[in-house]
Amino acid sequence: MGMWSRRRFLNVLMVVGTSLIPRSLWAQAGSFLTLDEAPHAVFPEGTSVEQRHVPSTPQLREAIMGDLGSTKPSLWEPDYVLFTVHRDGNLLGYAVVVEEIGKHRPITFVVGVRPDGVVQDVALMVYREPYGGEVRAPRFLAQYRGKNLTASLLPFRDIRNITGATLSAEAIGRGVRKALALLRTLSLTGGKPS
């Protein structure tokens, strides 16, 4: 095989190889979902989405904290981006964008909650830490599906931990509980604030 043909072969190999690799791939830190994409990530079957912002007032924060018991989320959001998701006029549920500190930096994610106060799905929007990005894996996030506020959502209790990403796993659990408590405080989902 002459020089030119070998180069051509390598070029073809590189083009084919590159084209085979999907574009939306993993990374530790990165932005994975925009605000517009967030509700569809947790309610892909939704046909209409209504977005609004719920200001985080002291009363709201106090009510959320009261509902969460020993869980102490950050509650630093100035307001919560809340999506109401419908399918053909029927309410599918709510998607709440929340943030929680991993080790040093906030993790932004969206929590989908059905009207009965049960987690539909969780999806990461932005991950900023250099390590621990495995919490973005669907296999890990699937553990939150079907959970409600009675669950602690803590590693080694009702969530399988990721070795080396315990802080991020705890942060996801705190954020999910915060979203559940927010919706219950706003009386959007089932159950009464305790």
């Binding site: 690799i21 999907p22 939306s24 791939l25 993993w26 990374a27 530790q28 830190a29 990165g30 932005s31 925009t34 605000l35 609004r52 912002h53 719920v54 200001p55 007032t57 002291p58 009363q59 709201l60 020993s70 869980t71 102490k72 100035p78 307001d79 981006v81 419908h86 309410l91 964008v97 943030e99 080790k103 040093h104 930096r105 906030p106 932004t108 009207p115 929007m125 932005v126 991950y127 900023r128 250099p130 495995e134 894996a137 296999r139 890990f140 803590l154 080694f156 209790r157 931990n161 990721i162 070795t163 080396g164 315990t166 802080l167 796993a169 705890e170 405080t185 706003l186 009386s187 959007l188």
Partner: protein, 555 residues
């Protein structure tokens, strides 16, 4: 809190005003000298327009800040109510649910979508108390290490990580004086510091994300051999001593944390239900380099001695011009089925001899993994390292050094023996070994209500067991050469086993209190000191037991 926030906003506004005015000033002043007179009025007019627009913008920003301050100063009762209201219709004709009225839309939190919250300082530290059965080891507190780390998101796709390690390091003192004395000029220099200590740049790299699956990394990077070297932070582990094959023997070509100057690519690629992640680097690589030991010893039954020993042993590659004309390559591929399983394969290939010795290869491979079975977490690592042609290296050293040792004879110096000596150390044809770590974290209710766990969200008790074995085949134990010829080359096969049982307590994931008992043994009649770098056993002392109480913390 509110006052602090107001101050922050006011400060931000003033800072913005200052910077903008300064920029406007700079812009007009930098234009002035280079603008022709005929154009000056037009330029001035343009600059004035720009300034006017910026001032208008600033006024609007200041007004927004004032509005925000007024809003924050309002009593809580006057803030927008969070009480829910009922919507006009419920879902699917069901009973209408109470719902909050749509609030006035505000801008989303600045953090949304932003991955650049700047530079973060972190690190970890660890210390322990040790009581040992070895005759020459006193019960002791050891300050294991303090590592300071910085990670910075420089720009959207540019990151940097830095780790500075202070291992058993407490101080380094340098004293020097130059002054006339005894009719001449005298120079005195003294260096003092903590014993067996190290100050080291463990990591200093830049990452450039070309694609999420293709991220360039360059600088001082961790060599991706085995899972321990990549995850070596003391506070990640439940036992207060690192594993044998990664540190205490070590089987890894260079003990952890092993980093090298180089560059390469890392990435994560979804594959089926899991993720395939890889590290691939070219680097200077491990090499035989000299450690110079100076020994002063007074003796009652022999001449006092000054001995200088130059030990050639494998160390991490230089950060200066490479000592050898050949780069090393290392890589690791891992399949991660989060959160339950991970399997990693790693390899290393490169020349380990400096240019003045014959060219010989060092290669190594590793298999590591983790698996979760309920609450039981299992991690393991196996490393195999091969140093090729150690006897040729010895011959080559003999030819280059010609004379292994030189001493001043007793007739010339009856009271003081002065000796210079070359040694080859820590070389074995094959080193291999593994560790198996089992941990079982539990978080019982009584712990959360106890004095230990009170006010912690998820404190854990973790029983842990680690079983380790290492084999050193063809371990170079004695080398003599004279007049450029090797006269004696002794090698032996050795093993070291260790079992450690412990109990760890983690109030939070970053902090661990550790209690452990370990038992280590090697070949009968041999000393543990010959094969480990942390057990100063006497000749024939082939077993050691120790009780360890440690603390490790991250931040």
């Amino acid at each position: 809190m509110r006052i602090g926030r107001i101050n922050t906003l006011t400060f931000a506004g003033l800072l913005g005003l200052t910077l903008t005015v300064a920029e406007a000033g700079n812009a007009s002043s930098s234009n002035a000298p280079t603008t022709a007179v005929a154009q000056s009025s037009a330029t001035t007019g343009t600059a004035s327009d720009t300034m006017r627009q910026e001032l208008d913008q600033l006024k609007r920003q200041m007004q927004a800040i004032q509005d925000r301050i007024q809003e924050l100063e309002k009593p809580p009762a006057e803030k927008p109510a969070a009480e829910p209201a009922r919507p006009a219709t419920g879902p699917g004709g069901t009973t209408p649910r109470p719902e909050q009225p749509p609030a006035v839309p505000t801008a989303p939190s600045p953090a949304y979508g932003n991955i650049l919250p700047g530079v973060r300082l972190g690190g970890y530290g660890s210390f322990r108390f040790e009581g040992s059965s070895l005759k020459d080891v006193n019960d002791t507190f050891t300050y294991r290490r303090l590592v300071l780390s910085v990670d910075a998101n420089i720009a959207e796709r540019l990151r940097s990580g830095i780790e500075i390690e202070l291992e058993r390091f407490t101080q380094l003192e340098l004293a020097r004086t130059t002054s006339p004395s005894n009719g001449g000029l005298g120079v005195e220099q003294g260096i003092g510091g903590s014993d067996d200590s190290e100050l080291s740049v463990e990591q200093a790299w830049l990452e450039y994300e070309l694609e999420p699956w293709l991220r360039f990394q360059g600088g001082m990077v961790l060599v991706p051999m085995g899972r321990f070297n990549l995850h070596h932070d003391d506070n990640l582990w439940d036992l207060p001593r690192r594993s044998l094959i990664d540190t205490g023997i070590p089987v890894l070509p260079i003990k952890a944390a092993w980093s090298e100057v180089g560059m390469g690519f890392v990435g994560d690629i979804p594959a089926g239900p899991g993720t395939l992640s890889y590290h691939l680097y070219a680097m200077n690589g491990a090499t035989l380099d000299t450690e110079l030991e100076t020994i002063f010893q007074t003796r009652t039954d022999d001449r006092n001695v000054i001995e200088m020993e130059a030990k050639l042993q494998p160390v991490r590659g230089t950060a200066n011009i490479d000592l050898k004309n050949g780069k090393a390559f290392a890589g690791r591929v891992a399949y991660n089925l989060v959160p339950d399983y991970e399997l990693g394969l790693s390899g290393y290939y490169g020349r380990y001899t400096p240019q003045f010795l014959s060219s010989q290869l060092l290669w190594a491979f590793g298999v590591d993994g983790k698996a979760t079975f309920g609450a039981l977490e299992v991690q393991a690592e196996y490393i195999y390292t091969h140093f090729s042609n150690i006897s040729k290296v010895a011959n080559s050293l003999a030819q280059v050094a010609f004379t292994q040792a030189a001493a001043i004879p007793a007739t010339a110096s009856p009271d003081l023996e002065v000796e210079l000596r070359f040694e080859l150390a820590q070389l074995a044809t094959v080193k291999n070994g593994y560790w198996l770590n089992l941990r079982y974290p539990v978080s019982p209710d009584w712990l959360r209500n106890s004095i230990l766990g009170r006010r912690f969200a998820n404190p854990q008790l973790i029983p842990v067991v680690r079983w380790e074995q290492a084999w050193l085949n063809g371990l170079l134990s004695n080398l003599s050469f004279e007049n450029g010829v090797v006269t004696e080359l002794e090698r032996q096969n050795r093993f070291v086993d260790r079992i450690t049982v412990g109990l760890a307590y983690r109030p939070v994931p970053l902090v661990v209190f550790q209690l452990a008992y370990e038992y280590t043994w090697t070949n009968h009649g041999k000393s543990l000191a010959d094969v480990t770098n942390f057990l100063p056993a006497q000749p024939g002392e082939n077993t050691a037991s120790a009780v360890l109480v440690g603390v490790a913390f991250g931040f």
